[in-house]
C-alpha cells in the first residue's frame, strides 16, 4: 500500500499537482485513474481513454494538469477536449488499423508551399509522398486538406486568389464621355502654329522688363 501511495505521489508530483490542494473527490478520482494506468498500462490507447475521461468528467482539474498526468502536450489535450467519445474511438481505430496519423506542424507550411508552387501539377498524393520523404511522417489526405486550407495552400483558395476579380461595373459605364473640344480657328493662308514643346510653360519664362 505504501509503495502504491509512493508511486501515486510520484505520478502527481511529475504532473506538478500539489496533493494537499486536491479535494477528496479529486483524490479519489486520481487514485482510480492511477489504478487504471497500473492495470492497463500507459500505451497510446489507455492514455487516450484516460485523457478523454478525465477531460470530460468535470473533475475541476485544469487541462494542463490532465495533459501532464497522461503525458501529452497542452494543445493536444485542449484539442481533445472538443471531441466526442465517438471521435476519440474513431481516432484510436484509425491508428489501430494502420491508417496515416502523422501530425502536420505549422512550420511545415514553408516547404509544402514551395513544393506546391514548383510542382504545379502535383497531386495530393505527391504532396503526401513529399511530406513522408522530408519528415518521415505519413499523413492522411484529410489532414493535408485541412492543413492546406488553413494556410491558404489548397487548390480552390489559390485559384480564387489568382483569378482576375471582376469589377462592380464595366469601366465604360462609369466613365463619362469626353467633352468635345472646340478646335482653334486658324485664318486662311496663315501657317498653323506649332504646338509648344512638352513640359513648357504656357506663359513667357523670362522676366519681363521692369519699365
Amino acid at each position: 500500500m505504501h509503495a502504491t501511495d509512493g508511486a501515486l505521489a510520484q505520478w502527481l508530483s511529475q504532473a506538478r499537482i500539489a496533493e494537499d490542494r486536491l479535494t477528496a473527490e479529486q483524490r479519489g478520482l486520481l487514485q482510480c485513474a492511477f489504478a487504471f494506468r497500473e492495470r492497463c498500462g500507459d500505451d497510446y490507447y489507455s492514455n487516450r481513454l484516460l485523457s478523454h475521461f478525465l477531460l470530460h468528467c468535470d473533475s475541476k482539474l485544469k487541462v494542463a494538469q490532465i495533459a501532464r498526468l497522461v503525458g501529452i502536450s497542452r494543445p493536444t489535450a485542449s484539442h481533445q477536449q472538443d471531441l466526442s467519445s465517438k471521435e476519440a474511438i474513431q481516432a484510436a481505430h484509425h491508428r489501430m488499423a494502420g491508417r496515416p496519423h502523422g501530425k502536420l506542424l505549422p512550420r511545415y507550411a514553408g516547404p509544402i508551399a514551395e513544393f506546391i508552387l514548383t510542382h504545379a501539377d502535383a497531386t495530393r498524393y505527391d504532396i503526401i509522398d513529399f511530406i513522408e520523404r522530408t519528415w518521415g511522417q505519413r499523413v492522411s489526405t484529410v489532414a493535408l486538406h485541412h492543413f492546406c486550407k488553413k494556410f491558404g495552400l489548397d487548390r480552390a483558395t489559390r485559384a480564387e486568389a489568382t483569378a482576375p476579380k471582376p469589377s462592380a461595373a464595366p469601366p465604360s459605364a462609369e466613365r463619362t464621355p469626353a467633352e468635345p473640344r472646340t478646335l482653334e480657328t486658324v485664318p486662311p493662308s496663315q501657317p498653323v502654329p506649332l504646338p509648344p514643346p512638352p513640359f513648357s510653360r504656357r506663359g513667357r519664362n523670362t522676366r519681363a522688363r521692369s519699365s
Binding site: 506542424l105 505549422p106 512550420r107 514553408g110 508551399a113 519528415w135 488553413k150 494556410f151
Partner: protein, 442 residues
C-alpha cells in the same frame, strides 16, 4: 514579432495617432534595430520585401513618415508607453539589486546652443543629451528610462528613479547602486539617504566623489584599519590583486558627527611605481548585514549595467536616437527641449535589448548572455522566401548552421497564431528548411 505586436497594441492605447503613422513609425523603429539599420535615412535604400512586411505595409516605409512620427511624440504619451511596457513584474516581491546610471549621447550641433555634459568616452565636456536608465542586475534587463538635456546630472534624477522602481515594481527589498554622479554634492547624497530612511527595505550604495579634502582624510586613516583581500588576477596565470579595505564614517557638509554615513575605503594596491587606486563607497547597509568585502562585490555587479550601455551603443545604435532639442525653436540660442522622441527611441532600444535577452534565454543555456549582434548574425538577418497566401504569410528561411536551435522558438511563434492586421489579418507562419531534404532530380 509577438512582442512587437504587444508593444504596438500598447502604443495604440497610449498615443493619439492623428496622422495614421503610428503603426509604420513604431514597427519601423523596432525592426530597424533588429536588422541593425544604422540611420533612418537608410530607409531610402531599402527594397527588402520582408522588411516592408515587418514594418506594417507591403512597401518599405518612407523615412519622412517615420521621422515625422518620431518628431511629434509628446512626452506624456511616451511616459505612459514606458510605464506600461516596463518589465516591473521582474521586481515584484523579489530581493532586487538595481543600478541607475546615465548614458551620454554627444551632439555636434553648432547652430543650437544646448546644454553641455561630461562625456566619459571622449573625456571632455561637450554638448550632449542624456538617457538615464535603471537596470536590474539579477535578471539583466532595463527597467526604466528618462531622456534629459546634457546639463542634467544623475543627482537630479536619482530620487525620482528609485521612487518609481519602488512604487511600480513593489520589490521585497531594493539595493540601489549609483555611480559617483549621484553624489556630486553632499545634498544629493543626503537626499538618497533620507529616502532610504523613509523606506526600511531600501539600501543605497554609491561611489563617493574623490574630492581632495576627503581624499586627504581617507589617506590619513591608520594602516591598522585596512584589511587585505586577495582578488583574482586579470587571467588564470596572473598574480592576484591586492585590495585593502577599511571602514570609516564620513560627515557630510553642514552636518553633525552623529549623522555620519558608513564609508568603505577600497585601496587597490598596484605594483611598481604606479599610484594606488582609491575607490571609496558610501553605503546605507548595516555593517552586521553586509561586510565591507560583500559591499564591494555587490557594487562590482554594476559593471553589467555599463556593459548593457555598451551593447546598446554598438549593437543597437542608441547614439542614433533623434535629438531632443527642437530644431524649429524661434531662438536657436535657447532651443526648446522635446523629451518625447529622445526617450521613446531610447526606450525602444532598451526594450529590444530585453527582448533579445529573453530570446537568447529561450534558445538554451549556450546562448544566455549572447550579444544582440551575435544573434542578429546567427538568426535574424537570414535570407529566405515569403509566400503570401490568402490566409497566411509564410516565412521560409533558407538553411543555415544551427537552425535547429530556433525550432522551439518557431513552434511557440506558430502556436501563438499571430495575425498581422496590415496584411488583411493574415496569420504569420515561420518555417525552416528541413535538413536532409531530398532534392528533385534534374
Amino acid at each position: 514579432m509577438p512582442t512587437a505586436l504587444n508593444w504596438l497594441a500598447t502604443a495604440e492605447e497610449c498615443f493619439a495617432d492623428e496622422y495614421g503613422s503610428l503603426r509604420q513609425g513604431l514597427l519601423t523603429s523596432v525592426f530597424s534595430l533588429v536588422i541593425g539599420m544604422e540611420r533612418i535615412f537608410h530607409l531610402d535604400e531599402m527594397e527588402d520585401a520582408g522588411f516592408a512586411r515587418l514594418c506594417g505595409g507591403r512597401r518599405c516605409p518612407s523615412r519622412h513618415t517615420v521621422g515625422g512620427w518620431r518628431r511629434h511624440l509628446s512626452w506624456h504619451e511616451v511616459d505612459a508607453f514606458c510605464r506600461r511596457t516596463s518589465p516591473w513584474h521582474l521586481l515584484h516581491n523579489e530581493d532586487v539589486l538595481m543600478s541607475f546610471d546615465e548614458h551620454t549621447i554627444p551632439r555636434w550641433t553648432r547652430k543650437f546652443h544646448i546644454g553641455k555634459g561630461y562625456s566619459t568616452t571622449r573625456n571632455k565636456y561637450m554638448r550632449c543629451e542624456k538617457l538615464f536608465t535603471g537596470y536590474d542586475l539579477v535578471s539583466g534587463r532595463f527597467l526604466n528610462v528618462r531622456g534629459t538635456p546634457g546639463n542634467v546630472n544623475l543627482q537630479d534624477l536619482a530620487v525620482p528613479l528609485v521612487q518609481q522602481a519602488l512604487s511600480q515594481g513593489r520589490p521585497r527589498s531594493l539595493h540601489a547602486l549609483f555611480d559617483a554622479g549621484a553624489g556630486k554634492s553632499d545634498a544629493g547624497v543626503r537626499a538618497l539617504w533620507d529616502l532610504a530612511e523613509q523606506h526600511p527595505h531600501l539600501d543605497v550604495t554609491m561611489r563617493a566623489c574623490r574630492y581632495p579634502h576627503r581624499m586627504r582624510t581617507w589617506k590619513q586613516l591608520p594602516s591598522g584599519l585596512f584589511v587585505s583581500v586577495q582578488d583574482p588576477g586579470v587571467c588564470v596565470d596572473a598574480p592576484p590583486k591586492e585590495v585593502r579595505l577599511a571602514e570609516t564614517q564620513t560627515v557630510l557638509k553642514g552636518e553633525e558627527a552623529e549623522q555620519a554615513i558608513r564609508t568603505i575605503i577600497c585601496r587597490e594596491v598596484r605594483p611598481g611605481p604606479k599610484k594606488d587606486r582609491w575607490h571609496p563607497l558610501y553605503t546605507t547597509s548595516a555593517a552586521d548585514e553586509l561586510k565591507a568585502h560583500e559591499v564591494l562585490s555587490v557594487y562590482r555587479a554594476r559593471q553589467n549595467h555599463e556593459q548593457g550601455h555598451r551593447v546598446e551603443v554598438h549593437d543597437l545604435l542608441v547614439d542614433a536616437v533623434p535629438c531632443g532639442y527642437d530644431k524649429e525653436s524661434p531662438d536657436r540660442m535657447r532651443p526648446r527641449f522635446h523629451r518625447g522622441p529622445l526617450q521613446m527611441i531610447g526606450w525602444l532600444v532598451a526594450l529590444m535589448y530585453n527582448a533579445v535577452a529573453d530570446l537568447a534565454q529561450t534558445l538554451g543555456p549556450d546562448h544566455v548572455g549572447d550579444h544582440v549582434r551575435t544573434l542578429r548574425r546567427q538568426f535574424f538577418n537570414r535570407p529566405g522566401q515569403l509566400y503570401e497566401t490568402p490566409e497566411a504569410l509564410i516565412v521560409y528561411l533558407d538553411p543555415f548552421k544551427g537552425q535547429e536551435e530556433l525550432l522551439p522558438a518557431i513552434d511557440d511563434l506558430n502556436a501563438g497564431n499571430h495575425r498581422l492586421p496590415w496584411l488583411d489579418n493574415r496569420r504569420l507562419v515561420m518555417s525552416l528548411t528541413p535538413r536532409g531534404q531530398t532534392r528533385d532530380g534534374p
